[in-house]
């Protein structure tokens, strides 16, 4: 079988090598690109997570990547958003360029709901480190989590997370920190994770491998 071609959407905020290489490890032909035509022609699209919501949306919109992403998602091209790449799937986010929370910034609106800041109290924000993902019944049916045990540890680094106004029936995994939040969502061909599978050792590679298998069979 020919390795599926997976476009990693580059919005010039950081290094995408670990995402590209992790997908390569599990049999994909992954490439970073900022070209909407390349994104449109790929077998699958991954939006990685680097930077702040405001900057990412600015870049995605100006470059034409946002349109290419929405179009790919609508054409049922398999799609995976990681961390900030998960956030931009939703209607609105509060994270400004400098990391502080402000007025709503419009997201791509592929999925319903908002992204809000984790409020620090006794626990420290950002939420950085290995925490558990808990599978919902929807998550147990999700192809991304085949052979991933309930409560598996995955690597997080974020200050913002999905709010409670997202559709309950797309929540595949939940994690608990300053509040309980959706750490994985799934609707049809669209997958999103708050954690970083490319930094989550063997568990992360299983999840990416499942995504590649899904792409191969899509």
């Amino acid at each position: 079988m020919v390795a599926p071609r997976i476009a990693i959407v580059d919005y010039h905020k950081g290094n995408l090598l670990s995402v590209v290489r992790s997908l390569g490890d599990v049999g994909a032909q992954a490439f970073a690109t900022d070209d909407p035509t390349q994104i449109a022609g790929a077998d699958a699209v991954v939006v990685p997570g680097v930077g702040a919501f405001e900057d990412a949306m600015d870049y995605l919109q100006t470059s034409g990547e946002a349109e290419a992403i929405k179009d790919a998602a609508a054409r049922c091209v398999p799609f995976l958003g990681i961390c900030l790449g998960l956030h931009v799937l939703f209607e609105r986010g509060a994270e400004r360029s400098d990391g502080t929370a402000g007025d709503w910034i419009e997201g791509s609106g592929i999925l319903k709901g908002s992204v809000t800041r984790l409020t620090s109290g006794r626990l420290k924000v950002p939420h950085v480190g290995w925490n558990q993902m808990h599978l919902t019944s929807h998550g147990r049916a999700c192809p991304l989590y085949a052979n991933v045990p309930e409560g598996a540890n995955v690597y997080f680094t974020h200050s913002y997370a999905l709010a409670d106004d997202i559709d309950e029936d797309i929540i595949a995994t939940r994690s608990h920190y300053t509040r309980s939040f959706a750490s994985g969502v799934w609707r049809d061909n669209v997958f999103g994770v708050q954690f970083h599978p490319e930094k989550s050792s063997a568990t992360g590679l299983t999840i990416l491998s499942n995504f590649v298998s899904y792409v191969e069979h899509a």
Partner: protein, 255 residues
């Protein structure tokens, strides 16, 4: 629950691991990335590469190391040693380092922490502090250059300032305990951990499994770091984590 982390530290000079290593099955035990991969397989939660080359040296071997590490490692990693300005850190982050650790340069210019946090986010900025006890009292002084240069600065006050200025984590090394195998300076660790609202990584002095657990339970650290006990194969990372779990500490064991 967020787990407590176990972090092996690799001392690197000119792109090569300098301390002795005991991983007989590695093709090249001097290759920091290959060693880090072995630690990943054993359950390390992240790794720290500490560049011990003099600060005036050409940085390129370490930038090469960072991009090689991004290509090969599937856990987060930190690069530390010799940063003088945000430009140097930016090179490392651009090469894929998840975090940068800054020590002397931040003491000389604390504003550097603010600038780095603004550029990369606090989660990517570690302030490393080398502290030495002043006499018998529970007071510690910040030292530079591997313990050779005294600064007169109080370590706890400096940790508080570093956090205020944007550091996302404190990597706290006891110069009195480093290399002794007598265990962490728990009083120091606890004092800093209670003083700052950011995670503290305890470092310096680990010799037994009990020491790791003490760092968390008595030192109140969020992570424990060690070098030689891992390099020499005294303990595997799994052994350390299993012991910590037996003491009721949440750790990642599914690897």
């Amino acid at each position: 629950m967020l787990t407590k982390r176990v972090i092996p530290c690799l001392d690197v000079k000119d792109g090569r691991v300098v301390k002795g290593v005991n991983f007989v099955d590695l093709v090249d035990a001097g290759d920091p990335v290959e060693l880090a991969r072995a630690y990943d397989a054993e359950g390390a939660d992240e790794v720290v590469f500490l560049d011990i080359t003099a600060t005036s040296d050409d940085r390129s071997p370490t930038v090469d190391l960072a991009s090689h590490a991004s290509a090969e490692l599937r856990i987060p990693y930190t690069v530390g040693g010799g940063f003088k300005d945000v430009a140097g850190m930016r090179q490392m982050v651009a090469a894929g380092a998840d975090k940068v650790s800054v020590n002397s340069a931040a003491v000389k210019n604390p504003e550097l922490l603010t600038q780095a946090a603004a550029a990369f986010g606090s989660q990517a900025v570690i302030c490393a502090i080398d502290a030495k006890r002043k006499g018998k009292a529970d007071e510690w002084e910040v030292f530079l250059a591997g313990g050779r240069i005294a600064t007169g600065i109080d370590a706890v006050a400096w940790a508080e300032e570093a956090a205020r200025r944007g550091a996302g984590e404190i990597l706290l090394t006891s110069m009195d305990r480093d290399g002794t195998k007598e265990g962490f300076d728990l009083a120091l660790t606890r004092k800093v951990a209670r003083a700052v609202p950011i995670p503290v990584i305890a470092s310096g002095g680990v010799g037994t499994l009990e020491h790791f657990a003490e760092g968390i339970l008595e030192g109140e650290a969020d992570a424990v770091l060690a070098a030689s006990v891992f390099h020499f194969g005294t303990f595997s990372i799994r052994q350390v984590k299993e012991y910590m779990a037996s003491q009721g500490i949440p750790v990642r064991l599914d690897f």
